[in-house]
C-alpha cells in the first residue's frame, strides 16, 4: 500500500487519513483530498485507459475537468457510472473504479489492432466506409462500431439516487474561485450584494492551490485562500458552492449549476440528493473560469506519462505527487519552466527543458543553470517511445524550415506546454463573440452581450497580481451595476507568479515520415493533425465542417484543449488567417452533466401531477383498473371475481341499463360564466342559441374554432339570468377555459361577463339508469324530482345529503340520469352514500369504458375520438346544434369555407359487422373493396368500436366519405387476416326515440 510517487511532505492532502480504493480490482491507497488521478499517479499509474478509436494506451493528461483521456467508471450501489473524469473523482474509503474501452484489460487490449490498421480509419471514415449495402448499417456496422469504439457502459438499473432542484436569485454570481473569482466575490460581497460563488472543484482556490512561487499580502497563496473563505463564509449574503459546475449560460443571466453533493462521500446519508440543479438568475455575472494549458502537437504526444506542465505542477504542489522520477519538460512558454523548477526542488531529475523558442528569458535560463538543468533551445519533441509509458523522447533542432534530429532523451514523464487558452466557454454560451488577440495568440471574450463580465485569465489577463486586480474591479463593477453601490474592500497585493511569455499553436514540425506518425489534436476523439489536413484537402473549408468531418472538438471537453491547435492546422492548410477560419461555438453543457439532474424530481410518482377524484380510494379498494385521462386517474372498469375487462364492462353496461350505475364525473371541466352579458358571451362562443334558455334548463353546447371545426362539447345549465354552469370534456378543460379568456379579454373586452373555473369546486357523481331517481331521491332536498317538474335537461339547486348541491338531470348513457354536483370536499361522503344506495338497488359502479360503450349505443360523439380537429358539426350529423338565426358565433364563418361545404366530406355513420361477434379495431381503415389495389385511398376510418351488451352484438362508429348516402351498403375493413365486411347504418343503435332518458 505504499505510494512510491508521493513526496515526503507538502500538498493539501490529509496524510493522516489514508484511504483504500480499487482500480480495475487492484487495491491501492490514497489520502483524503486526493482525486482519483492524483492517487493513481501517487501509485505510479499513468496508464488509465484506451483511446476511443485506435485503442491506444492513454494516461492522465490534465488535472482538471478538461481531461480527455482518464475517463473511468465508478462502481457504486451495484451499478456503474461511466465516463467520469479521474481528475474530478474524489477518492473515498472503498471507492471502486474501473478503466474503460479496453478488452480484456487496459494492459492488453485486442482493439489496439485498430492502431495498426489506422490507414483504414482516416477522417470521415464512418462516412466513407460504411455506406453500403445500406441494410448493413443497422444490423452490422453500427452495432459493431458501437461495441468496439465508444466510452463506458451505461448503468443497467434505474438511478437509485435522488436529485434536488433550487431556483436561486442573486445580485452577483461569480463562476470560478481562482484569484480573480475570489477577489470578485470579496469585492461584490463587501457592497452588501447577494453573492453566489461556485467552483467545479472540491476546494476553492483554483490555481492558488498550486501556486507556491508567490505570496499574497506576504502570505502563501493557499493561506490567503483560507483567510478569504473565512471572510466570505461569515457574510450571510454569500453562498459558497464548491463541487458546483456552471454548465449552462442562458438568456438574461439565467445560469444552470450542477452541485455534486454525495459523489465524494463513502457512505452518504441516503436522505441527501446526489446532485442539485441550481437554476440561478443573477443580476450580474462574473466569469472567472481561468485558462487551461494547451497540449503540444508532436508525434506520439499521447503516450502515458505525457502530461500538461501545469498539471504536473498541480500534482506536485497540491497533491504531493511526483509525476515521474526523470521528467522532460517541453514547452513554448515561460510558465512550464516553473514546473521544472518545482519538481527539481523536490528531488525529481529534470532530463531537460526543451523550449521551442530560440531565446527564452535569460532569468529563467539562469535559474535552470543554478539547478543544473539541461536546457535545449529552438528544440521540439519529434517522437516518443515506450509501450505503456513513455521511456524516451526524440528531440529535434529547428533549422530554418526543417528539423534536424537532436538525439534521444530518456524520461519517465514528459510535461508539455503550448501556452495558455482562456476558457471562454461560458462567455460564448452567453452569446458573446470572441475576438482574436494577436499578442496573446488566442481568442478572448469580446463585448458583453448580457450583464456579464469576464475577469482574470479567462479574459487573457495573466499573472497573479493582475488577475487579483481584475477580479476586484470586476466584483466592484458587478455590484455597482446590480445594486448601485460598491464596497471598499482592501485589495491584496501579490508578488511572484507573473504572466509569462510565449506560446504556440498548431502542429510542430518534425523530421519523421508524416504518413507513419500520429500527432494528436483531439485526444478523446483520436483526431490527429493529419486528419484535420485531410479534411481540408477533401473540401471541408468551414471550421464547422472540419469539426464534424473529423470530430475534432466534439469530445466532452468541447474542444477546450484542441480547438486552437485544430484551428491553426486548418488555417495553415487553407492558407487563411485564423480569424478568417473562425471558431466553433461552445454550447451547453460546459462539462458532461448527469441525466439525473435534468430529470430531477420529474420521475416516478412525481413525473407529472397525478390528479385523483373523490372516489379514487373507494374504487381502488374495489380493484378498479385506472385509465389516465390527461393528468387524471379515472376508474376504467371494476372487475369482480376474476372477471376480465370484457366481462366486467359487459356486466357494468347491462346493470346500468337494467337498474342503475354510479360514475365519477368529477374530472369534467366546469366553468361558471357570470355577468349581465353571460348569455351573449355563450351565444358568441357556442354554435347553439342561449338567450332563450330558461333558468333551470340545460342545453348541449358545441364549441368550434374559427376555422369551423369541433373542439369541444358539453352540457350547459342556466342557473340564473346572469349565471351559467358550463361543462367541458375532461381533456379540453384547460384549453376551453383559455380560449374563452382569449376571446373575452382580447376580442370582446366590452362584455360584462367573467368566467371562473369551478372544475375542482365540485365533485360530480353521475347516477344513471332506470332506478336513478329512486336512488337519489332520499338524499335530495329542495328540488322536486318528478318527471314533470324536473324533466330531462334540467338543473336545480338544493341540498344533497345535507350539503349544497347543483343537480343536473342529464344523460350520457341514454338512461334516466342525474349528475350530483357537491362541493369537492363533500364528494367522498356523497360518493360513499350513493355507492351504498346503488348497491342496495342492485346497481353497479362503472368506469370510463362502460361510459364509452353506453354512449356509443346512443351514437353520442366523444370529442377527440369521433373528431380529430378536422370535423365539422355537419360531418357528425349535428347541424341541429347550430343556432340558425345567429348572426355570428366562433366558427360560423369557417363553416362557410368552400372545402367545408363541398361534397365528399367524411360523415359519421354506424357500422355493423356481418358477423355480430367481431369487434372492429378503432382506427382501422374503411374501403369499398375487400381487396383494394395498393394505393387505393381509404374511404374513412373506424372511430369507435365495442361489444354492446344492449344490442347483443358489436357496434361501431366511423367517419366515411359521403357516408350518409351509403346507408344499407356493404363496405370493408381490410385487416391482416382478411377484410371484414360491414353494413353502413345510421349512427345510433339503441332507444332512438329516447323514451328511456325521458322517463
Amino acid at each position: 500500500m505504499s505510494q512510491p510517487f508521493r513526496i515526503e511532505k507538502g500538498g493539501r492532502i490529509d496524510r493522516a487519513a489514508s484511504l483504500s480504493f480499487t482500480f480495475d480490482g487492484e487495491r491501492l491507497s490514497g489520502h483524503a483530498g486526493d482525486t482519483l488521478a492524483s492517487a493513481l499517479l501517487a501509485n505510479g499509474i499513468h496508464l488509465v485507459g484506451r483511446s476511443f478509436k485506435y485503442h491506444r494506451p492513454r494516461g492522465i493528461l490534465t488535472a482538471g475537468s478538461e481531461e480527455p483521456n482518464a475517463l473511468v467508471g465508478i462502481c457504486r450501489k451495484g451499478d456503474q457510472t461511466p465516463n467520469l473524469r479521474a481528475t474530478q473523482v474524489e477518492v473515498y474509503e472503498g471507492l471502486e473504479t474501473v478503466s474503460q474501452n479496453r478488452f480484456p484489460s487496459r494492459g492488453f487490449d485486442v482493439g489496439a489492432v485498430n492502431d495498426l490498421l489506422s490507414p483504414l480509419f482516416p477522417a470521415g471514415f464512418y462516412y466513407k466506409t460504411f455506406m453500403w449495402p445500406k441494410a448493413f448499417w443497422d444490423r452490422v456496422y453500427e452495432p459493431v462500431i458501437r461495441a468496439a469504439a465508444g466510452l463506458g457502459n451505461p448503468p443497467k438499473n434505474p438511478d437509485h439516487d435522488t436529485y434536488g432542484n433550487l431556483y436561486a436569485h442573486c445580485d452577483v454570481l461569480v463562476i470560478g474561485s481562482g484569484p480573480a473569482g475570489l477577489a470578485a466575490a470579496l469585492a461584490a460581497a463587501d457592497s452588501g450584494a447577494r453573492v453566489i460563488l461556485c467552483d467545479e472543484q472540491a476546494e476553492f482556490g483554483g490555481s492558488l492551490l498550486t501556486e507556491t512561487a508567490a505570496t499574497i499580502d506576504g502570505t502563501a497563496p493557499a493561506q490567503w485562500v483560507a483567510d478569504t473563505l473565512e471572510k466570505l463564509s461569515a457574510n450571510g449574503n454569500v453562498t459558497l458552492l464548491p463541487r458546483t459546475t456552471a454548465f449552462g449560460y442562458f438568456a438574461q443571466n439565467f445560469v444552470a449549476l450542477a452541485q455534486r453533493i454525495t459523489d465524494h462521500v463513502s457512505e452518504p446519508d441516503p436522505r441527501l440528493p446526489r446532485e442539485r440543479l441550481w437554476q440561478v438568475r443573477a443580476r450580474e455575472v462574473v466569469i472567472a473560469a481561468g485558462a487551461i494549458e494547451r497540449p503540444m502537437v508532436f508525434p506520439e504526444n499521447d503516450r502515458p506519462g505525457i502530461m500538461l506542465a501545469e498539471a504536473g505542477r498541480t500534482y506536485l504542489n497540491r497533491y504531493g505527487v511526483k509525476v515521474g522520477h526523470n521528467v522532460l519538460v517541453a514547452t513554448a512558454c515561460d510558465t512550464a519552466w516553473q514546473a521544472a523548477f518545482d519538481l527539481a526542488d523536490h528531488g525529481v531529475t529534470i532530463a531537460a527543458i526543451a523550449d521551442v523558442r530560440e531565446n527564452p528569458p535569460e532569468a529563467l535560463q539562469s535559474i535552470a543553470k543554478a539547478r543544473g538543468i539541461r536546457v535545449e533551445k529552438g528544440c521540439v519533441v519529434t517522437g516518443t517511445t515506450g509501450r505503456k509509458r513513455i521511456s524516451a523522447a526524440l528531440l529535434g533542432r529547428l533549422r530554418g524550415n526543417g528539423v534536424a534530429a537532436a538525439g534521444e532523451v530518456a524520461c519517465d514523464a514528459l510535461l508539455m506546454s503550448g501556452g495558455w487558452t482562456p476558457t471562454v466557454s461560458l462567455y460564448s454560451q452567453s452569446r458573446g463573440k470572441v475576438v482574436w488577440n494577436e499578442s496573446l495568440g488566442t481568442f478572448v471574450p469580446g463585448q458583453s452581450v448580457q450583464n456579464e463580465r469576464s475577469a482574470g485569465a479567462c479574459l487573457g489577463i495573466y499573472g497573479l497580481n493582475a488577475a487579483l486586480e481584475d477580479g476586484y474591479a470586476a466584483g466592484e463593477n458587478a455590484a455597482k451595476a446590480a445594486i448601485g453601490r460598491s464596497g471598499t474592500v482592501s485589495r491584496a497585493q501579490a508578488h511572484g507568479a507573473d504572466a509569462g511569455e510565449g506560446g504556440i499553436l498548431g502542429a510542430l514540425p518534425h523530421d519523421r515520415d508524416p504518413s507513419k506518425v500520429k500527432a494528436f489534436v483531439d485526444y478523446q476523439n483520436d483526431v490527429t493533425a493529419k486528419d484535420v489536413k485531410l479534411a481540408v484537402r477533401e473540401g471541408m473549408h468551414s471550421i464547422e465542417h472540419i469539426k464534424r468531418y473529423t470530430t475534432t472538438g466534439m469530445a466532452t471537453d468541447q474542444g477546450r484543449l484542441s480547438n486552437l491547435n485544430a484551428l491553426d492546422i486548418a488555417s495553415k492548410a487553407l492558407d487563411k488567417p485564423v480569424t478568417d477560419v473562425g471558431l466553433t461555438t461552445f454550447r451547453q453543457p460546459y462539462t458532461p452533466t448527469t441525466f439525473g439532474i435534468f430529470a430531477n424530481i420529474s420521475r416516478g410518482d412525481f413525473f407529472d401531477p397525478v390528479r385523483k377524484t373523490p372516489s379514487h380510494d373507494f374504487v381502488a379498494g374495489q380493484d378498479a383498473a385506472f385509465e389516465d385521462v390527461g393528468q387524471w386517474k379515472r376508474a376504467w372498469y371494476l372487475p369482480k371475481d376474476g372477471e376480465d375487462m370484457h366481462q366486467a364492462v359487459a356486466r357494468e353496461c347491462e346493470t346500468v341499463r337494467k337498474s342503475a350505475g354510479l360514475f365519477d364525473a368529477s374530472t369534467l371541466g366546469k366553468i361558471e360564466v357570470v355577468g349581465p352579458d353571460a348569455a351573449e358571451f355563450l351565444e358568441r362562443m357556442y354554435t347553439n342559441p342561449w338567450k332563450k334558455l330558461a333558468p333551470g334548463r340545460c342545453r348541449y353546447g358545441l364549441l368550434l374554432n374559427d376555422a369551423g371545426f369541433i373542439i369541444d362539447d358539453g352540457v350547459v345549465g342556466r342557473l340564473a339570468e346572469d349565471r351559467f354552469h358550463v361543462t367541458t370534456t375532461t381533456g379540453g378543460a384547460a384549453h376551453v377555459f383559455a380560449t374563452m379568456e382569449d376571446y373575452l379579454q382580447t376580442e370582446w373586452p366590452d362584455l360584462d361577463v367573467w368566467i371562473t373555473s369551478i372544475t375542482e369546486q365540485y365533485a360530480v357523481c353521475a347516477v344513471q339508469g332506470p332506478k336513478a331517481r329512486d336512488i337519489i331521491a332520499p338524499f335530495v332536498e329542495g328540488i322536486d324530482l318528478s318527471a314533470d317538474a324536473f324533466p330531462h335537461m334540467s338543473v336545480g339547486s338544493g341540498t344533497f345529503c345535507g350539503v349544497p348541491c347543483r343537480l343536473f338531470r342529464i344523460s350520457f348513457t341514454g338512461e334516466l340520469g342525474f349528475e350530483v354536483n357537491v362541493p369537492r370536499r363533500h364528494g367522498k361522503m356523497v360518493w360513499d352514500k350513493l355507492a351504498k344506495a346503488v348497491a342496495e338497488q342492485e346497481g353497479v359502479i362503472y368506469g370510463t369504458e362502460t361510459m364509452h360503450v353506453l354512449r356509443a349505443d346512443k351514437g353520442y360523439i366523444i370529442v377527440g375520438q369521433e373528431t380529430d380537429g378536422t370535423v365539422t358539426p355537419d360531418d357528425v350529423g349535428m347541424n341541429w346544434a347550430i343556432g340558425k338565426n345567429k348572426a355570428d358565433f366562433v366558427g360560423k364563418r369557417g363553416l362557410a369555407r368552400p372545402d367545408l361545404v363541398a361534397g365528399g366530406r367524411k360523415q359519421l355513420v354506424g357500422l355493423l359487422t356481418k358477423d355480430p361477434k367481431v369487434v372492429l379495431e378503432e382506427g382501422a381503415q374503411v374501403t369499398k373493396l375487400a381487396n383494394p389495389p395498393a394505393g387505393t385511398p381509404a374511404e374513412g376510418h373506424v372511430t369507435s368500436a365495442y361489444h354492446s351488451p344492449a344490442m347483443g352484438r358489436s357496434i361501431a362508429l366511423a367517419l366515411v366519405k359521403d357516408g350518409r348516402r351509403l346507408t344499407g351498403e356493404t363496405l370493408n375493413i381490410p385487416m391482416p387476416n382478411g377484410a371484414i365486411p360491414v353494413e353502413v347504418v345510421e349512427p345510433f343503435f339503441y332507444d332512438k326515440e329516447g323514451a328511456r332518458l325521458n322517463g
Binding site: T162, N165, H169, F606, R611, K612, T759, Q761, P823
Partner: protein, 191 residues
C-alpha cells in the same frame, strides 16, 4: 415584521396530521375556509369593500386584511376573498346585495383549492425548490400574494411573515405539491 395572520384565517387543520415537522420547517394542512372569486370593474370596488369588510386591493400582488378577512389581488379585475368557512353564505349574499347595481361576478370557490401553511427558517428555501420566483424578502416582502408555479402545478403563494407562507393549490394538485415539498425537505433531516 410580525406575522400578519389572524388565527381564524388559515389556521392549521386540527383534524389532519402535520405533513412535515422539522426544526427548520413545518408544513401543516390549513383548515377549510370560505373563498370567493370576485370579478368586477372599478365601479364595484367600493361596494365590494363595504360588503366584505376590507378594502379591495388595487396594488398588484398585495392583500388587504382585517379580522377574519383577507382580500387578495390576483389580477387587475380579479380578487380572492377569504373568510372563515361558516361565513360563506353571508358573504355571498352580502356581496350580491351590495353589487347588485354594477356588473360583477361572485363565485364560490371554497372547495376548489386547499391550503397548506409552510413555515420556519427554511420555508423560503423549501418553496424555492419548486417556485421559480425570488422569495428573498427584498423581492417578495411580507404580505405579497401571487399566483405562480410549483414545478408543474399552478399555486397561489401568500407570504404572511418572514418565515411563513400560505400555499394554495387546486385540490387534486395538492398531493403533488406537498409530496414534493416533503421529498425535498428530506435532506434537511441529514446531519
Amino acid at each position: 415584521m410580525a406575522d400578519i395572520l389572524t388565527s381564524e384565517l388559515y389556521s392549521a387543520d386540527s383534524s389532519q396530521a402535520p405533513l412535515l415537522v422539522l426544526p427548520d420547517v413545518t408544513i401543516m394542512p390549513a383548515a377549510p375556509a370560505a373563498r370567493v372569486s370576485l370579478r368586477c370593474r372599478e365601479t364595484g370596488l367600493a361596494l365590494a369593500a363595504k360588503a366584505f369588510g376590507t378594502p379591495i386591493p388595487q396594488t398588484p400582488l398585495t392583500a388587504e386584511t382585517a379580522a377574519n378577512r383577507a382580500a387578495f389581488w390576483l389580477g387587475p379585475d380579479e380578487w380572492m376573498l377569504v373568510a372563515p368557512e361558516s361565513q360563506l353564505a353571508a358573504i355571498l349574499s352580502d356581496l350580491e346585495t351590495h353589487l347588485d347595481a354594477v356588473p360583477h361576478s361572485v363565485v364560490d370557490i371554497s372547495h376548489r383549492q386547499d391550503a397548506v401553511l409552510v413555515s420556519g427558517p427554511r420555508a423560503g428555501w423549501l418553496l424555492n425548490t419548486g417556485v421559480p420566483i425570488d422569495l428573498h424578502e427584498s423581492a417578495f416582502a411580507v404580505g405579497t400574494v401571487t399566483r405562480t408555479l410549483f414545478h408543474k402545478t399552478p399555486i397561489m403563494l401568500w407570504r404572511t411573515g418572514p418565515d411563513s407562507f400560505v400555499v394554495e393549490a387546486w385540490g387534486s394538485f395538492m398531493d403533488y405539491v406537498t409530496g414534493l415539498l416533503v421529498q425535498s425537505a428530506e435532506e434537511l433531516k441529514a446531519a
